[in-house]
């Protein structure tokens, strides 16, 4: 299943994660945490860029897990989640947001996202969420 991940030039072993956040600092930390854990990381600064990245001619199936912020310019996280769930229903989604909103968390979890994490989140928690997402991904691959 990992053969397409090589198209991004990486030799990921654990899987490929797309992070969508408008803050370069946040993307930097997620990348650091996940690369240490052996994941390949792709970045997009907003929902629109994420959609562009995926439709860039690469096969979207290489994407194993997506982590997205909520409050972003252009296409925000909720809009992006709706889009991704419709277009790529098999890619597990994790929300990582700066603003804890119980109502939104509940509605997104009902929609089937893997986890709703609030910044600042410990590396271990983030890795656990991604691992959970990977498990779901594996089930889809079966």
């Amino acid at each position: 299943m990992e053969k397409t991940a090589a198209m991004f030039g990486g030799n990921a072993t654990e899987g490929c994660v797309l992070i969508v956040d408008d803050e370069p600092d946040v993307r930097k930390v997620i990348r650091m945490t996940l690369e240490k854990a052996g994941y390949q990381v792709i970045e997009a600064e907003d929902g629109e860029k994420a959609i562009e990245k995926i439709n860039e001619g690469e096969n979207p199936l290489i994407l194993d897990v997506m982590i997205t912020d909520i409050r972003m310019p252009k296409i925000n996280g909720v809009e992006a989640i709706d889009y991704f769930q419709k277009e790529y229903p098999r890619v597990p989604l994790i929300v990582l947001t700066g603003f804890p909103d119980t109502e939104l968390a509940t509605s997104l979890l009902r929609k089937g996202i893997v986890d709703y994490l609030v910044k600042p989140v410990e590396g271990e928690k983030l890795k656990a969420a991604v691992a959970k997402g990977m498990e779901r991904r594996e089930i889809h691959h079966l």
Partner: protein, 343 residues
């Protein structure tokens, strides 16, 4: 015959009492202030009076002797002035001094304190509506700090350690700046102390706060500033006015559109406009928007006191506020104040 005869008064004393009287009476249509006098040319009320176009004199006798004066208000606190007034005032002129002027001063003071409290309440309530933006702006650098610190626990490369430590310091400073901006905004103004306020700086500061109301990158901001627009006001209150108008504008645009901030100085008038390309205000609502507790926002999202406070503060500082709006195209809130800089 004039149906509403004006009370033509002169004020003796340019201290706090004189300032408060100018602030309270200066914009009442039924009152005309013929002049103000104080021996001390640096008395605070005198510069305010000049900004309002009110005659300032140091010759008390000349002012007292004006025949068209209905009322002399003595807030000098100087016991010797009473005799001078009695000696020189014309027969029909009444005098408000001593305990009577103290009573007036007390009422003015009480009124100003109540108003200041109301403005403060409105301001603090409005900060609640920024909570999501503030949380976002604090939690992002916090996440950077946490992530880098976790990494530093076992980072052995000296160059990377130094780099990441510097990033942490930068993030800490960013959070400190947010707290500084917020505490500055939340600060209560004193009831009477007006000073010269440079409005371009206040507009910029307000924009920083108003940004918490939205995701900033979808807004295009156009600034068209005049050189050094200065008015006499309380800086905290002017900041509150601009933050209110800008957050309304940003909300009306749902965070996406053009926000134009304009300042102009012309013929002793400072004009400030805050214009948006948002949803606009229907004609039938335009009359109501300044009423206290009028709001179109959901419960918890607005106090209904924002525009009411804006209008009260603008008028109190001898300014005029006007609004023009087209549904679907946007709104323009325009303010005019007497300039405090010499022209």
């Amino acid at each position: 015959m004039d149906e509403t005869p004006k009370i033509r008064l002169v004020i003796l004393g340019g201290g706090k009492g004189g300032t408060a009287l100018l602030n309270l009476l200066g914009h009442l249509p039924a009152v005309e202030i013929l002049g103000i006098a104080d021996k001390n040319p640096a008395a605070p009320a005198l510069s305010l009076a000049r900004a309002l176009g009110i005659t300032v004199v140091d010759d008390v006798v000349h002012l007292i002797a004006k025949t068209e004066t209905n009322l002399i208000v003595d807030v000098t606190g100087d016991p010797t002035i009473k005799a001078i007034i009695t000696a020189h005032k014309s027969l029909g002129t009444e005098v408000l001094g001593g305990a009577a002027s103290k009573l007036l001063w007390n009422i003015v003071q009480h009124d100003a304190q109540m108003q200041t409290k109301l403005f403060q309440t409105e301001k603090l309530a409005s900060i609640g509506t920024f909570s999501s933006g503030i949380a976002h702006d604090i939690n992002n650098p916090l996440y950077l700090i946490m992530g880098l610190a976790e990494n530093l626990l076992d980072e052995t490369d000296t160059t990377r350690r130094r780099e990441q430590t510097n990033d942490i310091l930068g993030a800490v400073k960013r959070i400190a700046t947010i707290c500084q901006n917020l505490t500055h905004y939340a600060r209560q103004s004193t009831p009477f102390d007006t000073t010269n306020v440079e409005l371009n700086g206040t507009l910029d500061e307000a924009l920083t706060i108003a940004h918490y109301a939205t995701t900033p990158k979808d807004l295009s901001i156009v600034k068209d500033y005049a050189n050094n627009p200065v008015i006499t006001a309380k800086p905290e209150e002017m900041l509150q006015v601009f933050v209110n108008l800008m957050t309304n504008a940003i909300h009306a645009m749902e965070g996406k559109g053009h926000l134009t901030l304009l300042s102009e100085c012309q013929d002793g008038i400072v004009r400030v406009s805050i214009r948006d390309t948002g949803c606009g205000i229907p004609q039938e609502s335009l009359e109501k928007i300044f009423d206290p507790f009028y709001t179109t926002k959901q419960p918890g999202k607005g106090t209904g006191l924002g525009l009411h406070s804006v209008k009260t503060i603008v008028n109190k500082n001898h300014g005029q506020l006007s609004v023009s709006s087209t549904v679907g195209q946007g709104s323009n809130f325009q303010m005019e104040f007497p300039s405090a800089s010499p022209t």
